[in-house]
Point group: C2
Chain length 232, copies 2
């Protein structure tokens, strides 16, 4: 073989920041293209290769493989081969990996003040569920308690409002007070654009079953942060 191995090592060194600062290390760990979005897709539980591709518009298989290897080598995710007869492989966050959720949410909340944000782009079910956690206006919750199911791209998700906070998970929507179903992007005008839920239902953008009142109250708990005004 050639000296590719040597140049490969040098290339890796060049990718690092040589900085003792934790933030620099953080960017080495999850700052590569796609890495943090892979973490995002795993925040609601283990996923398979194909699930990740579906949630990440435009990533190619080889790059996804590389990133998964890198994240696993760093101890942020683990690659689990489930035994037969399940015979599935999944990628899951480690405990430490899950601890970066506040960073993922905080970055998103900050970035959404940018005028550059375009809500018409692809929006994965996981991203939608996390956005609820990201953009809940705590002051609006009051003493509401609700368990709202979301049916997105064939999967069940759950959002639970209790004690002024919210929990989201990928879980069957049984014993939810109400269940919403529709395209992920159809939820944005309702949760963040002030569109009344009943109007979205009337237009056929989504469907509600169960306690419509509670679903309607739920739909008003969220808000996008105020946009930044850029000086010309």
């Amino acid at each position: 073989m050639k000296l590719e191995k040597v140049t490969g090592i040098e290339a890796r060194d060049r990718k690092w920041y040589d900085d003792a600062c934790g933030t620099a290390l953080g960017m080495e760990l999850v700052g590569e293209r796609w890495s943090l979005l892979i973490v995002r897709e795993l925040l609601l539980g283990p996923r398979r290769f194909g699930d990740l591709r579906a949630g990440l518009p435009g990533i190619s298989a080889n790059v996804l493989t590389q990133r998964l290897e890198g994240l696993a080598a760093a101890g942020i995710i683990v690659h689990e081969h489930l035994p037969p007869p399940a015979r599935a492989q999944v990628y899951a966050l480690t405990v430490w990996g899950r601890e970066c959720e506040p960073v993922v949410l905080g970055l998103g909340r900050w970035a959404l003040r940018s005028p550059r944000h375009d809500p018409m782009l692809h929006f994965s079910p996981t991203a939608l569920m996390l956005s609820l956690k990201m953009l809940l206006v705590h002051a609006r919750v009051g003493n509401l308690a609700a368990s709202i199911g979301l049916h997105l791209r064939g999967e069940d998700y759950l959002a639970k409002i209790a004690n002024g906070g919210i929990q989201v998970s990928r879980a069957p929507v049984v014993d939810a007070d109400a269940v919403l179903a529709g395209e992920t992007n159809a939820f944005l005008p309702i949760f963040y654009g002030g569109l009344p839920l009943e109007q979205a239902v009337a237009s056929g953008a989504l469907t509600v079953t169960g306690d419509v009142d509670r679903a309607t109250r739920f739909s008003t708990l969220f808000a996008l942060p105020e946009k930044v005004v850029l000086a010309a």
Copy 2:
């Protein structure tokens, strides 16, 4: 079938994630190589081109130029040409840009659990001051009030402990209770490694003037997060 203009546009598009998720937008805004570290260097106030190069080991001038342009175009920083006779150019965070401080600190705090962290690498004065904010153990502060000056690479910094919290800034060390001076890396064993301040002074690694008692108490307020144990 390919026109050069078209490929140029496609190339730009390729850099983005085409994702409505805020986290993806955040990675577009500050996820490029070096970008978040430039923001870090600006968190304590405006800096000049040369200051940034000095704080960022290994960045090249052309890349720094590109990143500054990108961050300015995004509205995260502004490039200010000061009028004569000052005749200096500085880069400063916008109000919105400053708002990502919690993300910078949170990412650093999370990443420092990695076994990959190497405290022997380059450490900029700004990174040291921010690390105090990042790694303060609130429970240890009690009712301590202290104003500690740090003299780092010819510049004065200030850390103020009050009301159980900490404030850091780039400011003259006048009316500080005590002033510490030394290489940035010399502070790590003291703040995060449990090395007694007096011992570091005895070894000549740094100097203390003023209220040594208070400086010593100050030096015990911080801790690195617990390291992650990686499965073999």
